[in-house]
């Protein structure tokens, strides 16, 4: 079943499936993501974050919008520019900042580096560096859901660059052949490190979906409600047996690949053009139009981050003895738990309002 690529919400009208509280929530999470990453960048410059540091500045809508469409029982593999997804599932800012600083209270307890984490209790698997390995893990989750006849789906993000690797293909093909309930979110931010997309592919990879037998959708990746809406539809399709969806969220990496990268290779005009499409400002405008006090929200978020930073900084580093523990699981294998799913639509589904 090869279907055509469709465009949803290129007009930026917003989603009809969101209550005002949802729209506020989305903005809040985007503000949190941006604020935490800005804070982290300054902690990094102060030498408090070891290793390297990556952020998702300018791409907040992609992770926030997609994760918001996921139910508690769904499962997520979250990539390196998708911090909002962790927040939506319920990881606290203090744990994230602890994670970045390699503290004991971080999500991986200092075992792994900044963005390589996932809270298994909240239904998330942390990425490995090898891109896009997690596409196969998500595909396997979806396979299990289909085998067991469960109405759940798996979702994963990945970048434009990682579409060049074999695992992209193996995942897309497998998901297509078995018509699995999986949502692939391609975060096309125009670059893979320094490499522009025209050196990564000759044709926009969303076109490949049809060749794998499923739906490909292009969406404005800087419009959080459009991303939400596309993902909500993809999830509906997935859990009702309609197979996978490839969503291409078109966006722009507004910072360097990592903290050390000055992005000299990006034409200035390209950055300027995309700055006008800032996803946070866009959602702010929407909410101001609805009469919501965005400045108060911003202040709340900043206060939350301040508190989280203090908490994280006060936490201890892991103990050296700990380094040798836990290579193997010695107890029972516990599967992933359920995450938070703040979208009001899920409460309505369960008859709660």
């Amino acid at each position: 079943m090869a279907t055509e690529t469709a465009r949803v919400h290129a007009d930026g009208a917003g989603s009809g499936h969101l209550q005002p509280e949802d729209r506020v929530w989305l903005l809040r999470e985007m503000l949190l993501m941006r604020g935490i990453e800005e804070r982290a960048m300054s902690l990094y410059r102060q030498g408090r974050i070891p290793g390297s540091f990556y952020d998702g500045y300018g791409q907040e809508a992609v992770s926030a919008g997609a994760a918001f469409a996921m139910a508690p029982q769904d499962r997520l593999c979250i990539l390196h520019r998708d911090l909002a997804a962790h927040l939506i599932r319920g990881v606290t800012p203090a744990r994230i900042l602890s994670q970045y600083m390699g503290r004991a209270a971080g999500v991986t307890r200092g075992r792994d580096g900044n963005v390589h984490f996932g809270d298994r209790a909240l239904g998330c698997v942390g990425m490995v560096s090898m891109l896009p390995d997690m596409m196969l893990v998500a595909t396997g989750m979806a396979m299990a859901f289909r085998l067991r006849g469960e109405r759940r789906c798996a979702l994963t993000w990945f970048g434009d660059g990682s579409t060049s690797r074999g695992d992209f293909h193996e995942a897309m093909n497998w998901a297509g052949v078995q018509r699995l309930p999986v949502v692939f979110v391609l975060e096309n931010n125009q670059y893979a490190y320094s490499t522009p997309i025209d050196k990564q592919f000759a044709v926009d990879p969303v076109q490949r979906a049809a060749a794998y037998g499923f739906v490909g959708v292009t969406v404005d990746g800087n419009d959080v409600e459009a991303v939400f809406e596309a993902t909500r539809e993809a999830r509906e399709r997935a859990i009702s047996g309609g197979g996978p969806t490839l969503i291409e969220a078109v966006t722009m990496r507004m910072h360097g690949h990592a903290a050390h990268d000055d992005m000299k290779y990006v034409p200035k005009e390209q950055v300027q053009e995309w700055r006008r499409r800032d996803p946070v400002e866009r959602q702010e405008r929407r909410l101001r139009d609805l009469g919501i006090d965005v400045d108060a929200l911003r202040e709340q978020v900043t206060a939350e981050i301040d508190a989280a930073t203090e908490e994280a900084l006060a936490g201890p580093m892991p103990a050296a003895e700990d380094a040798l523990e836990g290579v193997f699981c010695t107890g029972e294998a516990e599967p992933l738990g359920d995450g938070l799913a703040p979208w009001s639509g899920f409460r309505r589904e369960q008859g709660v309002s």
Partner: protein, 321 residues
Amino acid sequence: MAVMTYLQAISSALRDELRADPRVLLMGEDIGVFGGAFKVTDGFATEFGPDRVMDTPLAESAIIGCAIGAAVVGMRPICEMQFADFISCGFDQLVNVAGRMHYRQELAVPIVVRLPSGGGFSGGPFHSQNPEALFMHSPGIKVVAPSTAADAKGLLHAAIHDPNPVCFMEHKHLYRRVKGEVPGGIYETPFTARIARPGSDLVVIAYGAMVDVALEATEDLDGASVEVLDLRSLVPLDEAAILDSVARCSKVVIVDEANMTCAAGAQVAALIAHRGFEDLDGPIVRVATPDVPIPFSPPLERAVLPGLERVREACRELLSY
């Protein structure tokens, strides 16, 4: 107890688990309708259906990666590589995703990867490999390698019950050649070594197909009392049993079929040279395949795989040290 071949023992373990545990799922190329390249899953698709005995696309990375995904949401996937050699195509998912998951995220990955391995039948460079050392060098992966039918079944049960990724090295040359009594039902063979034959003058340490070679080569060695230690598990490695044999026998020959450099045998030798040094009464002798691809033509293949003669000679020489 029933008498079974090594291959039947493996089939029997898989069948018992499929019957006992709805979470168990087999994935691999041609394992369904066809019953697998070696017929290990013959008839399974009929009994358990194509969903639980899944014919996958030709894609090893996907097989391992999807198994990981299924495992972390509660399944117990068992992957078959059609030949162990093809693990090179799924290597990244195995070592980087599965192997490093629990340490990083406290998330267990209960998968088993079955790896029909080893040479001896003109399989050539790509159907004869013994890749176990690659997994031993990658943290977070258990590795077992049975040499008897009973252990094939027991180790496979234990591997399936284990909450960690386990590489199950099943030697193709043993499939139909090795027969033995196998207990009924589900039982676990521990991931520890086993004294295949006790002795006191010298110990031959081996695993997988090389255990039989070791036993046969030393059956009658000018009256010497030769112990044969079957490692059974490579990760965890039963260091206590190894050091104990060395302490009792003082002389050691280590036999493995993999290419010599950085093989399992190298690790065993290094362990003994470090922690069993005082017990040694002679050099630690290794017999392994030299560092060449396994050639196809029988005279060439015979020249590189460790055979009875090479083991016998190594033992004789060491005994007279």
